[in-house]
Symmetry: C2
Subunit: 319 residues, 2 copies
């Protein structure tokens, strides 16, 4: 490796495991480790696990490490390096994670909400590289996101901006976990999505999805839907198209409001592939104001499996 | 008047008339004139009319004028001072309005989209004075708006941000003039609003609105609805409440996205008063994420009849 290349450590703090990696300025993972989060044992243990992971990463290595980036769930103040109300981390409260890790390692530490870190990752390493402004949508258990405006993360008044999952597409629509109705998350969040497919499968005995589930005794999942769609199952293809158009409608509201017309889609459901992105583009183009129509771009995220580690490491190169 | 107070000229360019005024730094109109736009005769004539207005304003006056602010319809590049595709101004094309007026008058000239000028007006002179960030919604023929973030107008990538009227609340809802469906403008824009009332009046012969229209041979208008509501007509009150809640739902999407929780409502329909603002607050609070709920504020615009002139003049004090 070139001696003066820069490296950063990326830490992806999840409810089950902490994934860590050394990442080059070009976005290549050089080395990685994983530790159990041991979330139930509280913040002290989680932090110890994280430090063990960092030690394991650095052992015997002589990289020029610029700092540590941490992508965390919950409300993050990146200025103070605090993480608050992290879902799936019981008893977490408010933790000065950035200061603790920095004090223990002697390295600069940048903390950011994981959805925002994913957006910064795409800006620094991925599909957002050539765009000044874009909206990153992460489709997973929830629908999360980050907004990049003029190469900067848009955080809002109290750091909570970018809650793309809670843009409504139907004020009288499905009830969402957040308490509202018709949020796009209530259509495309994993469990809602599975629920929607299940309901419809009852009227579609011919769909290949039925056979995949029965023969392999597999659970219904976005992967199963993807497989069926890839094999040409009309039910699965239609379902992905409809989901894409709905996401496109939500993105049209965002685009009309922010005057940003590039959308990057990541997360598990992004495995729906081109069928999904094409229909997001279709739905969005139909619904944005005329002046925006020719500018609409819908891209797939470039950072895939290791998006968490890479996104977290990108915080060091971004700040 | 104090000798060293600052003054600006505000120009409100409308489809029928050009309203102009000398406005003090405190937001008081000292003098005003109005000229016919003569829109049908093209941009040259409109500009002449505007210059006549400015000359009339300045005649015999010895104010220390800091500059001229112009609020114009259409897409405005405030950097270049150009106004493009102004609706209601046929044959307008792209006009370097700022440079022309500045060259002819020798005064600094700032041009901005009229909805954005209204937002800046509220920030400099009005209800937004004490807020770093707020969303201004103007309810009129259309539903327009401006977004203030950290005391700055948010313009987006190409200057078209803030199209609040085209946030959808129902992807399968009423068709909107913009080509999309379920935009909040398709519920609260003047003509849509009147249409919604008309439809429902058929089933509400007891509503006072029927009597007001018949006895005074008046057209159905937001004012008539306001009058009926003020007199306690349940139909009118219910209608305003429902409209407010719908606007609140749209604002919840905006708030979740931008992390901005203060909304200022102006324009004709704002005459619906406290019944409207209360129900906007109700709808919005029900629908925003929990962390935002305690912060929701819905205010009425302070600049009323002369919002156009004052908003335009505020551009000079803002820039």
């Amino acid at each position: 490796m070139p001696r003066n290349e820069q490296y950063a450590i990326g830490v992806d703090l999840g409810g089950t495991s902490i994934k860590l990696g050394i990442v080059s300025r070009k976005g290549k993972i050089i080395k990685k480790v994983s530790k159990d989060t041991r979330a139930a044992e509280g913040p002290q243990v989680i932090i110890k696990q994280m430090l063990k992971g960092i030690t394991a990463l650095l052992e015997g290595e002589k990289f020029r490490i610029e700092g540590i980036g941490i992508g965390a769930p919950g409300v993050v103040s990146s200025k103070k390096g605090t993480v608050e109300n992290a879902p799936n981390l019981p008893g977490w409260g408010k933790v000065h994670l950035g200061k603790i890790i920095s004090d223990k390692t002697g390295l600069r530490c940048v903390v950011e909400n994981d959805a925002n870190a994913a957006a910064i990752g795409e800006m620094i390493f991925g599909s957002g590289k050539n765009y000044d402004s874009f909206v990153m949508v992460t489709l997973g258990t929830g629908v999360g996101g980050g907004i990049i405006l003029n190469k900067k993360l848009f955080k809002g008044e109290f750091g909570a901006a970018g809650e793309l999952g809670h843009i409504t597409i139907d004020h009288a629509g499905h009830k969402c976990n957040c308490g509202s109705y018709g949020c796009i998350e209530a259509y495309l969040g994993n469990s809602y999505l599975i629920e929607r497919v299940k309901e419809r499968l009852e009227d579609a005995p011919e769909s290949m999805i039925n056979r995949i589930i029965k023969s392999g005794s597999r659970q219904l999942s976005p992967e199963v839907i993807s497989e069926a769609a890839a094999a040409g199952d009309p039910f699965a293809v239609d379902f992905i198209r409809e989901s894409g158009r709905l996401l496109g409608y939500a993105m049209a509201s965002v685009s009309n409001l922010l005057d940003v017309s590039t959308i990057i889609i990541g997360g598990g459901v992004a495995g729906f592939g081109k069928t999904l992105t094409d229909s997001v583009k279709e739905g969005m183009t139909q619904r944005v104001l005329k002046s925006l129509q020719p500018r609409v771009k819908v891209l797939r995220a470039k950072l895939k499996n290791e998006a968490g580690i890479k996104g977290a490491s990108s915080l060091v190169f971004y700040k």
